[in-house]
């Protein structure tokens, strides 16, 4: 359960001994006046970072997106993998009360409330909360609806924070068990938290952490350069290039943080023909895409999600552009002079750029791509069912979650319309396989299938870029965004 097996290549982590004290100001893009501190409502990075400071989950993702125990000290499954016994560690809320099984059950039931629409509800779906029960103050038995080998991933799900039982108001005086306790909060502007001395993992080094909202990237950079904040989240690759090694600020790149690709709908023409899909795999010049759309800040992809994560099929050969073969495949499929509309939108960094670059690449293989800009605000639901090919991205999550959310017949966000009973069966098999190596083999089979004929053209993995002041130490550089060590301000100190 640790991810620091080799010395970090990043910035100021582990240089010198931690120093106690000081206030760190961290600038994030925020959600405006509608922001809330309700951890179950968290959806933006800013929300997640604030929630992480105030609250804890039972588990969280390590650098390879495997679940690491947090409030849960340990977990154990029965043979059938459908009953899990979780033991809580001795932790206390900011009001001094112990974190108990009741709190956990309250939190999960709140998330699963059918009248509400909390984000983590879908993740908790496998748990039968009515049947699950406390087995003592610190023990819980989770009863699952079906065997789930990856149950700890559920505990680490985005937004599955533990709040005190009966908590309803989170904006005036929220109480959590996280490393920092609430001081003040103005939606859309700032949140100030102070060190919680009794934190179970040891008190943070910082006295105070202040989250400030700055939506514009240049504002975050300027504030950092001008000494108004010490930590700026989410910078442009170009900005990073401009300041990297200049000595003014430190640039931290979180590798493999976001998958970048195109999603082809496999249930409709022209992409219902796997030769066309393969031709598209071969059209992409991945390095050009990474250089152009990500400004070089990333690595090329191999049409599979989760490079570097647990279970990733790293042995498959790296695909490269092969226009002749692509043309030949298109010819075979009777799809010469193919015309397709590529949906894109300014909803994520690099989307419109990638679309333009791919259009030019496709033109060389005789495919005409018409790039269509969609609305930023409804993009994700628009592309779910309509169109044939679209720009796609995904934040870090375990490969298992990626598959269950996007690639099963009954997945709710199956943007590639990948409906294959045998593939679903493989997933079930993996979930009921207790032995890890066997399970790995099953995942490998699934990924091989996706590699040859899947609907995701994954051309790259973007770095997540942070900037910090030079005196900020202890920032973990290996953790993809949204994983445990990302935005962990309890480990950070000011030198």
């Amino acid at each position: 359960a640790d991810s620091t097996d080799d010395p970090s290549d990043g910035s100021g982590s582990d240089s010198g001994t931690p120093r106690r004290g000081g206030r760190l100001r961290a600038a994030f893009a925020g959600g405006g006046a509608s922001e809330t501190l309700d951890p179950h409502l968290a959806s933006l990075f800013a929300d997640a970072a604030r929630a992480k400071a105030l609250y804890d989950k039972l588990a969280d993702y390590g650098a390879d997106l495997s679940a690491q125990p947090r409030l849960a000290e340990k977990w154990e499954a029965n043979k059938a993998l459908d009953r899990w016994q979780v033991t809580l560690r001795r932790a206390t809320f900011h009001n001094g009360k112990a974190v108990t099984a009741e709190d956990v059950l309250y939190s999960y039931r709140r998330i699963a409330d059918p009248d509400q629409a909390f984000r983590a509800k879908a993740s908790l779906e496998p748990i039968d909360l009515d049947a699950s029960r406390a087995t003592g103050t610190h023990g819980i038995e989770f009863v699952l609806k079906r065997p789930t080998a990856e149950f700890p991933n559920i505990l680490a799900a985005f937004g599955a924070y533990i709040v005190p039982a009966d908590a309803t108001d989170f904006d005036s005086e929220p109480v959590g068990s996280g490393p920092f306790r609430f001081v003040s909060f103005t939606p859309g502007r700032s949140a100030l938290f102070r060190r919680y001395d009794d934190y179970w993992e040891g008190a943070p080094h910082l006295d105070e952490i202040e989250f400030v909202v700055a939506n514009e990237e240049s504002a975050r950079v300027n504030a950092l350069l001008g000494g108004q904040v010490e930590y700026a989240h989410e910078l442009n690759p170009t900005t990073a290039r401009a300041h990297e090694g200049k000595g003014q600020i430190e640039i931290v790149r979180l590798r493999n943080s976001a998958m970048q690709g195109f999603a082809m709908k496999t249930d409709r023409a022209p992409f219902d023909d796997k030769r066309v899909r393969e031709a598209f795999f071969l059209i992409a010049d991945r390095q050009e895409l990474v250089d152009g759309a990500l400004s070089g800040a990333g690595v090329v992809g191999n049409d599979l999600f989760g490079k570097g994560y647990e279970y990733y099929a790293a042995d498959l050969p790296q695909r490269a552009q092969d226009l002749d073969r692509a043309k030949a495949l298109l010819k075979q499929a009777g799809a010469e002079n193919l015309k397709v509309t590529l949906d894109t939108s300014a909803v994520a960094a690099g989307f419109t750029e990638a679309a333009g670059i791919f259009r030019d690449q496709a033109a060389k293989a005789g495919v005409t791509i018409d790039v269509k800009m969609g609305s930023k605000d409804s993009y994700w639901s628009d592309i779910l069912d309509s169109g044939t090919i679209c720009c796609y991205r995904s934040g870090a999550m375990p490969i298992e979650a990626h598959i269950s959310q996007r690639l099963l017949t009954d997945s709710t966000t199956n943007a590639t319309k990948w409906h294959h009973k045998d593939f679903d069966a493989l997933y079930q098999q993996a979930q009921s396989t207790k032995d890890k190596t066997e399970r790995t083999a099953v995942y490998e089979r699934m990924q091989r299938r996706l590699y040859t004929e899947g609907g995701f053209l994954v051309w790259g993995f973007a770095d997540w870029i942070l900037g910090t002041a030079r005196n900020v130490k202890g920032v973990e550089a290996k953790a993809p965004a949204n994983s445990l060590d990302w935005a962990r301000f309890d480990k950070v100190w000011l030198a």
């Binding site: 170009t238 250089d291 400004s295 419109t352």
Partner: protein, 286 residues
């Protein structure tokens, strides 16, 4: 002479961007392979842009749409607001004036960016639609300025005299009142042209009309801004071209205004020495 030199200056200033805009595409040639975005060197003498294209090529391609869309939108805005403003300045029926101007105030009350954002995402316009939309956003304001300037000119005795002569509305409105407010209009047009340029660019960024990676100077300025410190040329060159375009067109406007009034002032034939005598003699005879 002074007017001439200003004319030449204006023409020179506007010449560069205009020539680039009109002839640029002919010399641009085939796009080469993309490079890493925002880099300099490697045969790209103005560096690369946000998606690794050659900036110089983009500059060559990017003038035409700017010039065409912005000019079209500005022209369109005036095409509508000039008659509107003039009608309401020249009418004595206050209900007609209210009928024409008040609905425009409704548009005025919706911030233009919001208007474009909303209308655009509802109707998904193309380049033509965008020009229309941008023109629409400019009409209320232009019409008000026209009306305000024209109202004064329209109340002069000269206009009454024209009416007395049974002059057509058109002649009164465009021939006289229009001429009288030309300077104000020219000043406003210069500003408006620039405003329109960037509204088009903003719209492009929001995904309206122009493609977000279009070769278009205004779009280039907007989209390449992230690289300002790494590769300034991608922003500076198109921005300078826009600045010269608008400055030049305004200089030209001013010079043309001066020349016009100057030349008409000099229009009369030189006075012949005998003229006055004839005048005097005539009186004496009677």
């Amino acid at each position: 002479m002074k007017g001439r030199s200003r004319f030449v200056l204006g023409a020179a200033v506007i010449g560069l961007p205009l020539v680039l805009a009109l002839l640029g595409p002919l010399f641009a040639g085939e796009p080469g392979p993309r490079a890493v975005s925002f880099t300099l060197g490697d045969g790209h003498w103005l560096g690369t842009d946000f998606v690794g294209r050659d900036v110089w090529q983009q500059v060559l391609h990017g003038g035409r749409p700017v010039v065409v869309t912005a000019l079209a939108a500005t022209a369109l805005a005036y095409l509508v607001s000039l008659p509107l403003g003039l009608i309401s300045a020249l009418t004595h029926r206050s209900w007609l004036e209210e009928l024409l101007m008040r609905p425009l105030d409704v548009l005025l009350a919706v911030p233009s960016l919001l208007l474009i954002l909303l209308v655009a995402s509802v109707f998904e316009p193309g380049a033509v639609g965008l020009a229309l939309l941008v023109a629409l956003a400019n009409i209320p304001d232009a019409a008000r300025i026209v009306r305000a300037a024209a109202a004064e000119a329209a109340s002069r005795p000269a206009v009454e005299a024209l009416r007395m002569q049974g002059e057509t509305w058109w002649r009164i409105a465009f021939g006289h009142v229009g001429r009288a407010i030309l300077r104000t209009l020219a000043a406003d047009a210069g500003i408006r042209l620039t405003g329109v340029l960037y509204l088009v660019a903003t719209a492009a960024f929001l995904g309206v009309g122009v493609a977000p990676d279009a070769a278009d100077w205004a779009v280039m300025v907007d989209r390449n801004r992230t690289g300002l410190f790494v590769q300034p040329w991608a922003v500076v060159v198109p921005a300078l071209l826009i600045v010269t375009l608008t400055t030049g067109s305004n200089l030209l406007f001013d010079a043309a205004l001066d020349r016009r009034s100057g030349s008409t002032r000099r229009a009369g034939n030189p006075r012949r020495p005998g003229d006055n005598r004839r005048n005097g003699e005539k009186v004496r005879q009677s």
